[in-house]
Each structure stands twice: as structure tokens, then as C-alpha cells.
Amino acid sequence: MNHDFEPQIIAFCCKYCAYAAADLAGSMRLNYPSNIKIIQVPCTGRVDIIHLLRAIEDGADGVYVAGCMEGDCHFVCGNIKTRKKVEYVKKTLSELGIEPERVEMFNLSSAMGPRFAEIANQMGERIRNLGPSPLNIKQAA
Amino acid sequence: MNDIKSGSNLEKVLKSGNFAFTGECGPPKGANVDHLKENLAFLKGNVDAVNITDNQTAVVRMSSWAASAIAVQEGVEPNFQMVCRDRNRLAMMSDVLGAYAMGIRNMLCLSGDHQIFGNHPEAKNVYDIDSMQLINLVKTMRDEEQFLNGEPIDGSPKMFIGAASNPFADPFEFRVYRLAKKINAGADFIQTQCIYNMDKFRQFMKMAVDMGLCEKCYILAGVTPLKSVGMAQYMAKQVPGMDVPPELIERLRGAGKGKFAEEGIKIAIEQIEEFKQMEGVAGVHLMAIEWEHKVAEIAQRAGMLPRPDIS
């Protein structure tokens, strides 16, 4: 696990819970790695398999989706559908010989600022341990 | 019921009102017939007829009519089994004719286990006609002396037609109707699945008797002695349509290590005793595959010997 490797991680956050929790983490001045880039969507239900694959294809080392707690989704059940899609992408990645742990789904409420930072740190750490995405290694070499 | 169909030993035993006793023996997994002959030797004289299985559980073995022909040579009357899985109607008719020509007089028409249970799950199955239609086909060949398409047969096969019945499979309440259907289709004798749940079987036999099936057809109760607790549990869980009551397994376990086989035989013998008295049961079909050497002892201890010789 080389220390100079700076992973690029994309996070799809739902507007009502995860994005709000990210803002709260900011107003609480918590800390998480700067290579997490957040994209806001109205509901995680909007995140499609193609968005996750496209991110990996573009060169992301890690992608995660953060939605509301199960049962609390602003749109009733968007988060439950997306968890299934994330499982599908994990299966596809392992078929392609890429570590499925690079893609993940998390659930948290808009009041969980500390939890958002914890997730970001946890994913940053996990991707740093996994090293750069195989797609990037070939490019680099 | 009483006009002679095939004149086979089994038919005569049953027709004469004796308590029939049939065994079972699996053909070899190759062309070497020594082991087959050994088993037949064990059975000779101890049973009225021996079922020769046809690719049981879809595992490839020597074909049933070949093994049956060898049995005839060895002087043991075979019950030639045919399943609907492996042959279409042309092959079935030609095999029946061939078997008859080789001196085989009894046959059993079975659906057969699905090929995914066997050692060639990739195979294509046939199921051109089902067991009911096979019974009727052989009956038509024997009585109307015609092929399925109505053309005459030169030398019709006088087979004593048998079928299987599983009194414990679901839907239980329909099982006796299906038995009736088989009998109407032309079955002369029936061998049931091996029985462990005695009360359910009593209930089944009561229904069969009430429907008057026992006048039209001989019903043989299936018995398979349990060799070990493991076997009992395997039968209970894995074999579809098998109903092994837990108290039986407990009794087996109670017998203690090393004595399972003995206890299994004791149970089998008790069952046979009861079947002798049970109304509607015309005999017992002992399935002791790989235990052929024990058949003599079981027959002896169940008082089935000597076998009636009705020439």
C-alpha cells in the first residue's frame, strides 16, 4: 500500500439525507480525505448501474452510494432498489477481475454528520489499501 | 382377474392365492455379469421373481431386458422394468417384443427419475409417453395384439403387466385414484414404494380395498430394510416422496452401534408379518439392493420359504 497513491473516489449522495449529512459534517468541521468527490442526486433511486460502471470506466478507484436509512427514504423505497443495483455492479466487477469492494452502498440519516465523515474515512482507507484501480495501473505502467 | 395373462411364475403364484415375494437386483455398471449372476444365485429359490432395474436414479447400467434375459438363463424369473425417460414409443414397443422373445414374462412400467439425479444430467430426456400410457400400450399389444397405431403384431407379447405406486407422495388424497387409473389402464400387479409409515399405508390400503382395487389387481407392499441411521436419515431427507417417521429412526439409533443392520432386518420382518395379515396385500416386494446375500435369511426368518412351486 504505497502512501503517495491518491485514490479518486466518487460518492453519489441523495439530497435529503446523505448530502445533508455531508453538509452537517462540514458545519461540525469534521475531517475526511479530500479525494471524495460528491455528486448530488434527488434520491439514490436515481443512481443507475451505468453511472457506477461509467465512473469505474472513467478511472475512479472507488465509488459509493449514500442514501437514507432503510424505511426513511424521502421517496419511500429508492434506497432499497439501489442497494440491489450496487450488488449487481459488485458482481459485474468481480466477473471483470476487479475487486468488488471498490463499490459500496451506505445508509445514514441527515442528522448523522459524524457518520458521514466516518464513512468517507472508511472508504478512503479501504481504497488506499486496495491500491489504484486496475484500469489506472495499466495506464500508468 | 383369473384368466392367465402371461403364465409367468409370479402370475401363477399370485393367481393361486399364495403370498408372493419378489426381490430386486440392479444390473452391472458394465458388461461383466459375474456379480449379477452372484446376486441372482442368492435370490434363486428365495423369491418368486426379481425386479431388474432400468438405469435406476438415471445412473447408466446394463439395459434391463439384457440383464433380465441373463436372469432367465440363470433360471430366475425376472421382472423387466422400463422407464419412460430414455425411450420414445418406437423403442419401447420394440424392446417389449425383444424381451418377450427372450422369455421375459413380467414387466414394470415406471415414469423413471429425472436425469438430473443421475450421472449424465446434461442428457436430453424423452418422456414421449408416460407410465400410464406405457401400461395401456403393453396391454394393447398383449390383448388387441396391435401396435399403438393399430397395425397388427406378428406374435403379441403376453406380458404380466406391473406398475409402481407411491402411497406417501403428495397430493396424498389423489394417490389411490391414480392407482385405480393405472389398474384401469391395464396394470395386473402393483409394487408400492418402500414403506416405513405403517399407519399412512394402512389408511391407503383401506381406501384401495374400499374402491375394490384389490379384486382387480395384486398389490405387493415394498420393503427395504434399513442398514444404518445414516441411511434412514438420507432416505427421509433426500429421496423424494419418501416418508420415514422419526420414531423409526429413534428406534434404530436405540439399538446401539453395530446392531443397526440387525434392528433393520427385525423391523422389515415385523412389517412382512403385518402385511401377511393386511387385507388387500397380495405379497411383498423386498428391495435389498447390495444386500442380496441377506435375502435368504430375511425370507427364512419371515417364514416365506420355501417358495411355492406351481408348475
Binding site: S34, P42, P114 | -
Partner: protein
Amino acid sequence: MSTKGTNNKVGSVMVVGAGVAGIQASLDMANAGYYVHLVDSSSSVGGLMAQLDKTFPTNDCAMCVISPFLVEVGRHLNINIIPNSELESLEGEAGAFTAKLKNNPRYIDSVKCTACGQCRQVCPVTAVNEFDCRLDLRKATFIKFPQAVPLSYTIDKNVCIGCGMCEKACLAGAISYSDQARFSEIKVGAVVLAMGNELFDPSLFDTYAYSRHPNVVTSLEFERILSASGPYKGHLMRPYDREVPQKIAWLQCIGSRDINHADHSYCSSVCCMYSIKQSMIAKEHAETPLDAAIFYMDMRTHGKEFERYRERAEKGSGVRFIRSRVHTVEPLDDGGLKLKYIPESGEVLEEVFDMVVLAAGFATSKDTKALAQRLGINLNAHSYAQTSDLTPVSTSREGVFVCGTFQSPKDIPQSVMEASAAAAGATQNLSEQRWSLTLTKELPAEKNFSEEEPKIGVFVCNCGINIGGVADVPAVREYAKTLPNVIHAEDNLFTCSQDTQENIKKIILEKGINRVVVASCSPRTHEPLFQETIREIGLNPYLFEMANIRDQNTWVHMKTPQRATDKAKDLVRMAVAKAALLESLPQVTLDVTQAVLVVGGGVAGLEAALGVARQGFVAFLVERSNELGGMALGLNATWQGEPVLPYVMQLIEDAKKNERIKIFLETEVGHVTGTIGNFTTTLKSANNPLDTKVINHGAAILATGGKEYKPHEYFYGKNPKILTHFDLDAAVRNNDKALKDSKIAVFIQCVGSRTEERAYCSRVCCIHSIKSALILKKLNPEMQIFIIYRDIRTYGLREDLYKEARQQGIRFIRYNKDNPPVIDSDNGQELKLTVKDHILQRPIEMNPDLVVLAAAILPNENKTLFEHFKVPANSDGFLVEAHAKLRPVDFASEGLFLAGIAHYPKSIDESIAQAKAAVSRAMRIVSKNTIAVDSVIASVNPDRCAACLTCVRTCPYNVPRVGEEGYAIIEPSDCHGCGCCVSECPGKAITLKHFTDDQINAKTDALFYIEASC
């Protein structure tokens, strides 16, 4: 009602107190055409609810629920928030009041202040932080909570030493020490009082060692301990030594139902529920298993879903409920607290707890009493606003209305209902002044940029030092200039400040910019503000994208400024990539039929219809039976003794007289189609289904009411001496001799309620039984009266009835669910009742001449009706509201409202309040002639649609359906814009406007410097 010259009426209303009730009333009135002055004595709106962590019974986080409302009231064009102010006097009469206000100084200009918090960091003076009760400190310059509205700091002059440090630290130049108290006068048409209550201060009791030991906390303090924004960031610790408590005790009725110490004889009606909630949430928070015990006299969980909530706490989370009043709390030296108490079984027990939470009740504050005095509002004995049950939100002074806990202790749903009711009451006589004072923004026509290629303007914000202090903003600005389609990039100190907004508009017009990207804080709080700004110069609001480089960048990467700068560049590049693909979305508006359909002719239906008519709109009142009045016809008097029948007769007469109310008796609702603002309903006459009538309306209020449960227990119907409540009321009405002569009368509570198949409390039977017992006592003072109960739930001020009943010698015997009282009447005449007395712990027998069963209240059977409106009913058959706390009279589907017993059993005053509330909620729609529909909605491209039904099956609101033409159709006004169908559609036929696939992919591509590939 003085109708002296309607022209001098004023089309605005003043709301005093900006708690959840004040906010709800203001929003209702502002959205129905009245200008609202929202006055609050503290520095921010939000009131008590802002301090809560979670709310019962749904355990939602309070702040997540209320902050959208705070933002809405903060930004509303027609709501003028006046913080730090008190109402000095109120002259004039209903329709034309003159209110004198005292505006206390804040010393910080709330327009300039961006709440960056620098002044707080440098301020040398600390003081007790009232928001977190006494658990932590704040500085002299403070903000009540991070989501405060107005979002600005204030200086607390009594502790400030005037050292001037904050002025030095403030980059926005927002500090103005010269701020003075000012007086202002405002003309208003009506006033709504919603000052709320304060919590009782238990330092009065020395037996609970509250003032002597930090581990004895009030319930509000415990709420702050649980809260993620509280002193311990949501970790459950006890104040003394920050240990995680393993045993916590809740003591109920502290400062309520208490006449020797606190002289508050009433019940505060919410403490039982919030203690249960706190015990469950504490168990969730605790790292190690937590033993929670609640010491109570009567467990009062009388609200909707409350009984099940209590079951879940007891059975699911293992909370211990101990029926006993704790005598003393003795602090031990290791921080533990020894409790001495006597449970029902009688022996004296001692138990050591790590923490004790005192469930403090409500009390009217001194300033509220003084204000009521100044305004001439009569207060009752408990110093709550005196109101009649039949006009529950009107005070003793004409034109002044009341809602929330200042009227009497109540929970949030009840307060919100009363707030909407007060809104309806206040605006009822001002309807001719509707829209007279409200402001509307004059907007120029939108420019069409569809032909032009994108010309993007990027505005990078420093936000004082929040961004500029960490990231290199000029570098980001220069970088933005290099991005494709960017024709202008600049940075400024505060992009959201008024002056910067002005010059942004100037530059956009000068340079012909047609897409705007602002890199600053969170779109959640500031997107509407910037969208409005660019709309003011003809740019469609959706030609706008934000990059959050503060909350999600500089604030969380303070220690790595270089990386924060690089990330800011990445985020700007991504935003610009999406901006290039943005299209302008038309503002879809539908016209509104200004009429309301009211289903159900009971008191709730009548009040709703009259409310709508008095607001000036047509109301169709549909009643299934052939007479109006509903259940109320069988009720003699309200809990305060006001006769009900004359009131109901008057209601019916007014309804018949009012020409705006069209009454349809013996009529059922047939087919319902259409959406908010445009419903079309066919009405079928009950006895001749062919006779139908089609009506158009903009909103509908379901007030289908309920009925009394006819018990099959206790030999009801087999013996004339056994009655239900309505039978008793009837007997009293025609003063049946048998009542006077009976020597022993017995009331049995919870008949049919709180059982397996009906696990809810019917809320009003305890009150009705006790009130009837008092009437019987008056009829024949020698009569021995027993009330056999499980929990006496005389909530709120109704506790006086219970006090008086005990004083009159009525005896109360408690039974529990497993061994209820047994009645056997062997020969049909002589009744024998045996019940185990809870004190003697032995069964006692009696031969009552009269047995009254407190039968449950059931909802009326309306399965088909509910299906027509596609509205859900819960397992007990009561209608399910959109949100238990903040939308208690709305349905989830827009434009439909509910009121009365159909929502949940309630007393007549609560039904009246809910009916008026439903009217106020309906006014939000019906008072306008057009209604705007959200533009971020899904739309189907017909030729790509394979009619595979995926969208029909996926949509949580089952909006899409496949039409006759063979492709999916999504009704714009129904779509909520979540996008679930978009991501599941196998043919990619559906796109979600403003969040299309290309726009999302453009962001990921941009992050990795990939040009817009296919």
C-alpha cells in the same frame, strides 16, 4: 362582529411566538394571501422543537423534520420575521389592530452576517448556553443552533464586556455596537398567540437533588445529551464523569399533577410519551446494554399509534414500567443515585441508578402571563388562555386567536393542528382583503437560449475565510477560465451578499452569459436564492449549477489546504461540465377550481364546510345518511360542561342557510379523478345509484367520522342496567328515573380499547366516564360510584375532573389486562361484579344497579371511499396522515385533507380544531387560481418506450401508467421527481429533467478530464 366599514380592514396578521405552531400558522396564512408579521422574543425561530433530538411516535430526528419549515418561513416573501421583539400593546378591534412592538437590539446586522462563526471563536466571555440547558457554555456572541433562521449571530449584552474583539474578527463588517432598542407600530387585521410554554424548573424540589447533583437532569437536558448537535455530540454520557450510564430512571409528573410543591394540578400530557421515546433512543445510543426504568402514576399514551409505541418499548426494547412515585433521590459519592420507592406489591425498594431524568411538565412563563395581561386575554386558573370547547382557538378578545401549548399542554401534532385552525380563524373575517398586502415578484420574460451554444459564467466565493482561508480562491478562478465554454470567471468575498448579487446580474447581462455556475456553499441552503437572482434578469432558474466547495471541501479539509484547492478545481470542472448540458425547464402551472368537497356531515364536516364558505369559496358537503350532526347528536356536553346539542343545531342551521354550501344528503362519493387543484368527482345518491351528479373541486376534506363500539363483553345488550356512554347520555337527557334510584353505579374502562385486535386507546372514555360520574353524584349524592380502570388518562387541563371526582368520593379501582372485572347476572335482574382491588390485593364483590361500559370508538366503514381517493387507512381503519408531526391534517397525495374521528378518536374540541385546520390547509390551494408544479419531473419519450411496465411497478407513488396509445404516461403534477423509474427503465425512455444521464455522466467524465464522449 363589527362590520363598520369593511374597507378599513387590514389584510395582514401578526403571529406572536415562532415555535412550530407559530411557523405553521404563518406559512398557512402567507400561502393563502395574507402578509404575516412573525414576532419572537428570542434571536431565532424554531422554539422548543429545535432543541429536541427525536420526536415520538416515529422517532424522526426533530431538526430534520423542522429545518425545511425554518428555511421556508425564512425565505417567504410574505412573512416578515421580527426576532428579539416583544408585543407591548394591542389597540383597536378585530380587522384593524395597531400593535406596538419593542425590538431589542442584536448588535449584529442579520442581513450582513453569514454565520461564519469567527466572532464566536475569539470572544473571551463565556455564559451558560440556554439552548443546551446547563450542560455547556456559549460565548457572549452566539447563534442558538446551526440551522437558525435568521442565520445570524447575536451579542448577549448582559454578559458582554464590550472588548471589541468580535468586530475585529468579523470580515462581513456585520457588528454594530450602536444598535439600540427601538419601538415600532404595525397595523394588522388579526393576531395569533403562539408563545408556547417553558419547562418546569425542578430545583424547587430538594428531594430530587436536581440542583445538587449533575447526574439528575431534566428531560430537555437529556434530550440535548441525546442530540447529535448537543454537548456530547450524541454520545450517551452522564454529565458528572462522562461515563456511559448503564441504568437510567425516568421520574414522571415532575411539576405536573402536583398541588403541594408546584401548584400545577394539571397534567402536561406529553411527558409520558417523551420519556418512553427517550428510554428507547437511549437504549439505541448506549454502547453497552442499558437498563431503563420509568416510574409513573398513570401511563398516558392516548395519542395515535402511542399505545403501540408503548408496547414496542416494553416488549421490544425491554423498558421497565414501574407504577410508583419515587420518594427521594439520594446521591452517592461515586456519582450514582439511590432511589427509594414502593412498587404496587407494597414493599419498600431501593435501587441505584447512574442517571435520573425528571420528566418536567409545562408551565406558562412570567412574560407570557404579563403579555396576556397587557392584551386583555383572560387566562384560566392554570394561567392558560381561556377558550371554549366549541371555539377552541378563539381567545376572550375578538380577533385574537391562540394555538399551541399557550392554550393548554399538548403534543406537536395537536399544536400544529391548532396552528392551522387559528390561521383559518384569523383570516376568516379578512377574506375580502386576501392578496391585498402580499407582495409578488415582477419577473421579466424568460430569454430563450436553445439555439445559442453554452456561454458559462463561473463565480467563485471566498465566504469570508471559510473558503478563502483554506483554498487558494484566485487559483480556482484562474483555473475556471481555462475550462470549456467558460467565457467569464471571477471571485468575491460573499457571493450571497446583496451587493454581489447585483453586480453578478450586471455581468450576466453585459457578457450574455446563458449558464451560471456558483462555487460556494451548499445548494441545499442557497440554490433557491441564486436561482431567484438569475431569474430576475430573464435566465431560467434551471440554467444554474452549484459546486459545494465549502461544507464539502474547505470545512472538511482544513488541514490540507493544497488538496482542498485541487478538489475545488475538480468540483468546479465537474459543475461546468454539467452546466454545459443544462436546458431551461418551463414552469408548469395548472389552473385551480376554487371549491372544496367535504365528505361526512358530522361536526368536523360541518365546521369544515362553514370554514370554507366563510373564507369565500364554495363547499360541497356530502353525507351518506339522511341527517347532519353525526356522533355529536348523542353527546350531552363537552368536558368543560358546555351543552353540545344547541351548538350542533346552530351549525346545521348555519350550513343550510349559507348559500355557498351545497348539501347532498343520502349521497355517496363515486369515482374521483384529477389531481391537486382539479378534481372531478361523481356523486351517487345512496338509494338510487343511477341518479349521479358530477362536481369539480380543487381540494377535498374527508371527515367520515366514527361510531361507538357495541361491546359483546360484560353481557351488554342482555341486561337493561348495562349501558354504554351514549346510552347513559340519552338516559340523562330524558332524566330516566332508574339513574336517580340506583345506589351503586360502576364504570368499566377500556372496553374494546387496548386489546389484541384493537391495540389503540380511544382517548376520551376516561374523561367521559368521570364527567358522567360527577353528574350522577349531583343527581344522587348518596350513590356509591366506582370507576374500574387500567390507566386514567385525563390529559392536559382535564386532570381537574379527576381531582374533583376523587374529592366527591368516587372510588377508583385499577385492574390489569390479564384479570379484568367479571360480571355475572344469573337471574337476569341481580348483577354481581367481582374485581381484584389493586391495593387490598384481594377480590371484592358488589351488586351494582347501573354498569356503564366505556366502549371504544371505531372508524366508520369506508373501504370503497378510501379506494376512490387512493388514501391509506392503518390496520385499525383510521386514515393515515402525510406526517404524524408536521402535516397531521394532510394526506401524502396533494390536495386531500382529513379531519375528525376518521383520523383518530378525539374530543369534540379537538375535532373542531382539526376541521378548521383542514380548511386552512385547503386554502393554500383553493385561494389561488393557478398552482405551480415542480419542474424536476420525469418525462417519457414515446418512441423509445417498450410498454414493459417497469416504471408502473417501480414508482413508489404509482404515478406512471401505460395509456391506450401503447406507451407509458407520467402525469406532470403527480410526479415527485425521485427518478427511480428513470434508472430502472430498460429502454432508457424516461429522463429526469435537470438530472439526465448525460448530465450525471458529464460530471464523472469531467473529474477524469474526459471530453464529452458518447
